[in-house]
Symmetry: C2
Subunit: 388 residues, 2 copies
């Protein structure tokens, strides 16, 4: 069976940060931006289905948030499915959107990721984020997400005798990249020394190793490959997606330094798309903590075990380097509104592969990979994009 | 493009009710039941992807519940997507599962619906259910789900001068049907007089007009049409699905007595499957309150506006009647574990169309429709099943 493929024809993005706008306004801005970005325009009536990735607007609309998207996107009657896989919600929503196109059920599909995090008082936010981790053991023992990634970082540095400066280097690079991204939350150059002197959060992770608590939304418009050219001369093809899962709690996993879900997701995405790793020009990886970027490079197959640290320190992952990673600033500096992140990564792939990324443009980029992780690795999805 | 279709090859179902079992045990029971029901067996390694419909186990695992399914279904590494559209969560999870098959991405897919409602203290449950309705106006004004459906019932009785006995009759019939369903929550024959004398909850709805608060899970195994015969000689074909949305709050809708989301979902399911309404032998509709069954019959196109009441009172919707509705007891008497309901309805279609429904069997049933509603009509999905 010849597979019908999906392509991006438009993408919208709000600012990420501590925003005055409520979740409805953020949805509207992201969707209006995506619609306005379509080169030859798209009627809302052409949109046949929508998918929303969100953890639930800081508890404001924990259930049934789909209907809010239908209202704010001005798509009365159009079916909307809410997808929730913690921090990978929008990545999995994108996957569902791709399958709706690949199945032939729809010609044009909207995928939106959203989180409004800064409305909730910090106690409520702690509860609400906590119930996205393992609630039976990790949370009961007081382990936070920073704690979980701190354990992974400790294990990584010990196991591989890796240079801990690589963690600070990820933060420095992603802050540098975010300076060129007008939507980024943290637009401030930092030095390796500043990162290493910032307050300890969960040893060895310091404040500058952690992503901020951000509000924001991003929206994607997908079309069937053969109809995409009606809307634009430069659609971005979705060559393939992959996904995987793992145990919810760190203690139940085979390794502290490898994310099995990412490995499975990457292998499937490459297999399904028939693409080689060496043809990928840029990566958008899930760096909720700096250690996560190192693990991602290894799990995705771009560095052997233990060698991502040296790769980062070599400068190869900078925008001018051989393999730019997180040119938009990543979760670390662009911000990480939980449910929005997967869609935001695809937005960056769309801009980069159309040569529209301004001063953060990766020169000559033809192929991009995005990588979105749920929780501390309980789920992951990888998507491959190509310029056509 | 010829569409590849999906078929059910197995289905499992826990008891519904106030259960001692936790959510993990319920997942296990439902999935093990589905696997065991496959006539020629299925290796777990054949299952390529899974979808979980749940509102979040009464708040126990509000986020990232997908990983719990991967663990309890013994599917390490297999991607799981949590779908949440309030009470229609499993109906939409089934739709996503169907699209994963129709897209050619997977040959065998698992779809599970689950809710554990009776663990939560009632205050927490009120909050948790409340945030599945419109939180900005309805919940702030103190309107509960019974209140919303009470308003719809009042409007229906007034607008159509309908006989209010039809509400009680829905309860009597569904209780009668549940007596023949060993998994049902309320297995107790009631009379029309008892129903009409039960305590008032939200005028005109009385206690016996309301579904109970149930725990439970149901699991479905889907396969591509052409591979289904490997697993069983009697798969149940999924001929088509449809879905729709509407405003979240009742006050924003065009009508109090019509669910636009159901109408759109039904029209699409029939159009996509090429099936006529008159060829449907039984309906599983979303009767969270008795009024909802009347509205469903009209919105699905099986009764003209205002005439569902008379249809129910005529006995036509009983198991021996011309159009049996909710032969398993419906949400009203079988029970309504929120996220499980859509999968439970498909379980009943599977059993009925294979002639395995025991004393509640609809004789000669060849085609079934299931109808699952989110909230008070913010979303709906309809699926058509056929014996092959």
């Amino acid at each position: 069976m010849t597979r019908r493929r999906a392509a991006l024809i438009g993408a919208g993005h709000t600012k990420f940060g501590v925003l005055p706008d409520g979740p409805r306004a953020l949805l509207r801005q992201a969707v209006d931006g995506a619609v306005a970005s379509v080169d030859r325009g798209v009627e809302r009536s052409a949109i046949g289905e929508a998918f929303l990735g969100t953890l639930g607007f800081a508890g404001w609309q924990l259930g049934n948030a789909s209907a809010v998207l239908a209202e704010e996107a001005r798509l009365p009657g159009v079916p909307v499915t809410r997808v929730e896989n913690a921090c990978a919600s929008a990545g999995f929503a994108l996957r569902s959107g791709v399958q709706a196109i690949e199945s032939g059920a729809r010609d044009v599909v909207l995928v939106v990721g959203l989180e409004k995090m800064n409305d909730a008082p910090s106690t409520r936010r702690r509860y609400w984020l906590g119930v996205s981790g393992d609630t039976e053991w990790e949370r009961m023992a007081g382990l936070t997400f920073a704690g979980v990634y701190g354990l992974m970082a400790s294990a990584y540095l010990t196991e591989h005798h890796a240079d801990p400066d690589a963690l600070a280097e990820v933060a420095v690079k992603n802050h540098e990249n975010a300076l060129a991204n007008p939507n980024a939350h943290l637009r401030k150059r930092i030095t390796r020394e500043e990162a290493k002197a910032s307050p300890l959060v969960a040893d060895p992770l310091r404040l500058f190793d952690c992503c901020p608590v951000s509000d924001g939304a991003a929206a994607l418009l997908l079309a069937g490959e053969e109809v995409a050219k009606r809307f634009t001369d430069t659609p971005v093809l979705i060559e393939g997606t992959g996904a995987g899962s793992d145990a919810l709690a760190l203690q139940d996993r085979a390794s502290l330094t490898k994310l099995a879900a990412t490995r499975r997701a990457a292998d499937e995405a490459f297999r399904r798309s028939g693409t080689e790793r060496r043809s990928v020009d840029l990566l958008e990886v899930h760096d909720c903590f700096t250690i996560a970027e190192l693990l991602a490079l290894e799990d995705l197959g771009f560095a052997p075990a233990g060698e991502a640290a040296a790769l980062e320190l070599s400068g190869a992952t900078r925008i001018g380097g051989a393999l730019p990673v997180n040119p938009d600033g990543g979760l670390k500096a662009k911000g990480h509104p939980i449910g929005a992140t997967g869609a935001s990564q695809a937005y960056e792939a769309f801009r980069q592969l159309r040569g529209e990324a301004g001063s953060r443009q990766v020169k000559g980029a033809r192929r991009a990979l995005t990588h979105n992780v749920g929780g501390s690795g309980a789920s992951a999805t990888v998507t491959l994009f190509a310029a056509v």
